[in-house]
C-alpha cells in the first residue's frame, strides 16, 4: 500500500521558523504530492511509526452514492472499500468529515445507502453538502439528515482538542458564469464566528468546492473565498480541506494550507487535460489508485497539520 505523504514535523514556535518551514514545504514535499509522486509507506504503518498524539481525524469526499456510469459502475462498493480502510486503522480517528456529494442525485435511497456504509466506521461524521446533495425536488433531504443545528443551507463550527473547525457551504445560489459561492450572510456569520478567537487557535475550514482558484474554466474555485480568507489573516495555522475535483491538490499560501481530497467514487481529469471535468474512465486496474481517503493529524504546539492521502489501492 502506497500513499502520497505530506507530513510536517517541524512545528517550531517562532513565526520565522514557521515561515522557513512553509517555504521548505512549499518547494519540496507538497509540490511533490501535486506531481503525484507516491511514497511507499502505508497509512497504518505511518500512523504507528509517528505515534500521533493530539488529534487525528479523517476526511472522505465525493462518495456519489447512486453513480453507476462507466467511470465506476459501483460507487457504493468503492465507498465501502474506503470505509473498510478506515475501520482497519490502528489509531482510531477522533471523527470524520465528509466534504460533500454524499449522493449522486439526492435520492432518499442514495442517502440511506451512504449512511448504512459510512455508519460502519462507527465515527461521528461532520458533513458539508456538495451540489449533488441538493437535487431533490424540495431541497430538504440534506438538511433533514445532516444539517440539524446548522445555519442557512448547512454551515456551522465546532471545537475539538483546541482546534476550531468550520464547515462552509459554497454550492447554493450559484450565479451564471460564476464559480462556487459563499454569499454575504454566510461570510458575515464567519466573521462573527472568528471574533474573539485567539490567533493561536488552529483553524480547519472545510467546504465542498475548493476555496482557492484551481481552474476557473471548469468552475473549480469559489467567487468570494478571498473574503473568507481575509477573516483568517493573522491566524497562525489555517488548513482548508475541500473535495469536488476528485483528485489531490495542495497549495500553501502564507499561513494557509489548501488541500483537496480524492473521491471514493470516480476520478476526474487534471485541469485542462480533457474536454470537460466529467467522470474520467480509466482501466479497471487503475481505478482504485485514483480513489481514496485523507487522514489529518494535529499535534499540540505544532503550527501545521499533517495531511496524508491514501488511495484505495496501489
Amino acid at each position: 500500500m502506497n500513499h502520497d505523504h505530506i507530513n510536517d514535523e517541524e512545528g517550531g514556535v517562532s513565526r520565522r521558523k514557521v515561515l522557513e518551514c512553509m517555504t521548505w514545504v512549499g518547494t519540496g514535499v507538497l509540490w511533490t504530492v501535486s506531481g503525484g509522486v507516491p511514497r511507499s509507506l502505508g497509512l497504518v504503518d505511518a500512523a504507528k511509526a509517528a505515534e500521533p498524539a493530539g488529534l487525528t481525524f479523517l476526511q472522505i469526499s465525493d462518495s456519489h452514492v447512486g453513480f453507476d456510469k462507466p467511470a465506476n459502475p459501483n460507487a457504493l462498493g468503492t465507498l465501502e472499500e474506503a470505509i473498510n480502510k478506515v475501520k482497519a486503522l490502528q489509531t482510531k480517528p477522533a471523527f470524520m468529515i465528509h466534504t460533500g456529494d454524499i449522493s449522486h442525485l439526492s435520492k432518499a435511497s442514495e442517502f440511506d445507502d451512504a449512511d448504512r456504509i459510512i455508519g460502519q466506521a462507527k465515527l461521528d461524521v461532520h458533513y458539508v453538502p456538495g451540489e449533488h446533495d441538493f437535487l431533490d425536488e424540495e431541497v430538504k433531504l440534506y438538511k433533514e439528515r445532516y444539517g440539524k443545528g446548522t445555519r442557512g443551507p448547512g454551515y456551522y463550527s465546532f471545537d475539538a482538542n483546541g482546534v476550531h473547525f468550520i464547515g462552509l457551504v459554497n454550492v447554493v445560489d450559484l450565479k451564471a458564469g460564476g464559480l462556487g459561492n459563499l454569499g454575504a450572510e454566510q461570510l458575515e456569520w464567519l466573521d462573527d464566528d472568528l471574533k474573539g478567537k485567539s490567533k493561536s487557535t488552529p483553524i480547519v475550514l472545510f467546504a465542498h468546492i475548493p476555496l482557492w482558484t484551481v481552474y476557473p474554466q471548469w468552475g473549480w474555485g469559489t467567487d468570494d473565498s478571498a473574503r473568507a480568507l481575509e477573516y483568517l489573516k493573522g491566524f497562525g495555522s489555517v488548513t482548508v480541506l475541500n473535495g469536488h475535483i476528485h483528485q489531490v491538490m495542495q497549495k500553501v499560501e502564507g499561513n494557509v494550507t489548501f488541500h483537496t481530497a480524492r473521491s471514493t467514487a470516480f476520478p476526474q481529469p487534471a485541469p485542462g487535460t480533457a474536454p470537460s471535468p466529467g467522470p474520467m474512465k480509466v482501466e479497471a486496474s487503475r481505478l482504485r489508485s485514483l480513489l481514496g481517503i485523507t487522514s489529518v493529524n494535529f499535534k499540540q504546539g505544532e503550527q501545521r497539520l499533517a495531511v496524508i492521502d491514501t488511495p484505495l489501492q496501489g
Partner: protein, 115 residues
C-alpha cells in the same frame, strides 16, 4: 414542387394524393411557425451556445453527460435535474433574449434569442 406534379399526367392517383398531402403538411407547419429545436449538453457545454428562434418555437435540451445538469434562465424557466439522456423542453411565447446557465455548474452558459 410544381403544379404540373399535382396535375399528375401519367402518375397514379395515390402518388398524386401523397404529394398533395405532403405539400399541405409543409404549408400547415410553416403557417403555425412552431419549430422544434435542439440544444445538446456534452462535456459541460451547451451546443449551440446561442440559438435564435421564433415566438412559439420549442427548444429541447438533452444531457449527454454522465453528470446531471439543471438548465435555468432566472425568472423564466428551470428544468428538473437532468440525469444522463434526460431532456427538458420550453416553448418561447414572448420575444426577447433568454440567457441561461447550469445552476450546478454555473460556468456553463447559453442564450436563446426569440424574435
Amino acid at each position: 414542387m410544381t403544379p404540373d406534379l399535382l396535375r399528375g399526367t401519367g402518375r397514379p392517383l395515390l402518388v398524386r394524393l401523397a404529394i398533395a398531402a405532403a405539400i399541405a403538411l409543409t404549408l400547415g407547419a410553416q403557417s403555425a411557425h412552431a419549430k422544434e429545436l435542439q440544444v445538446t449538453i456534452d462535456n459541460f457545454t451547451f451546443t449551440p451556445p446561442d440559438l435564435t428562434v421564433k415566438t412559439g418555437d420549442t427548444v429541447t435540451w438533452t444531457n449527454h453527460d454522465d453528470i446531471p445538469h439543471i438548465v435555468v434562465s432566472a425568472g423564466k424557466f428551470r428544468s428538473k435535474t437532468l440525469d444522463t439522456d434526460n431532456s427538458f423542453s420550453f416553448t418561447f411565447s414572448a420575444a426577447g433574449e433568454y440567457k441561461y446557465f447550469c445552476s450546478l455548474h454555473p460556468h456553463m452558459t447559453g442564450m436563446i434569442k426569440v424574435e
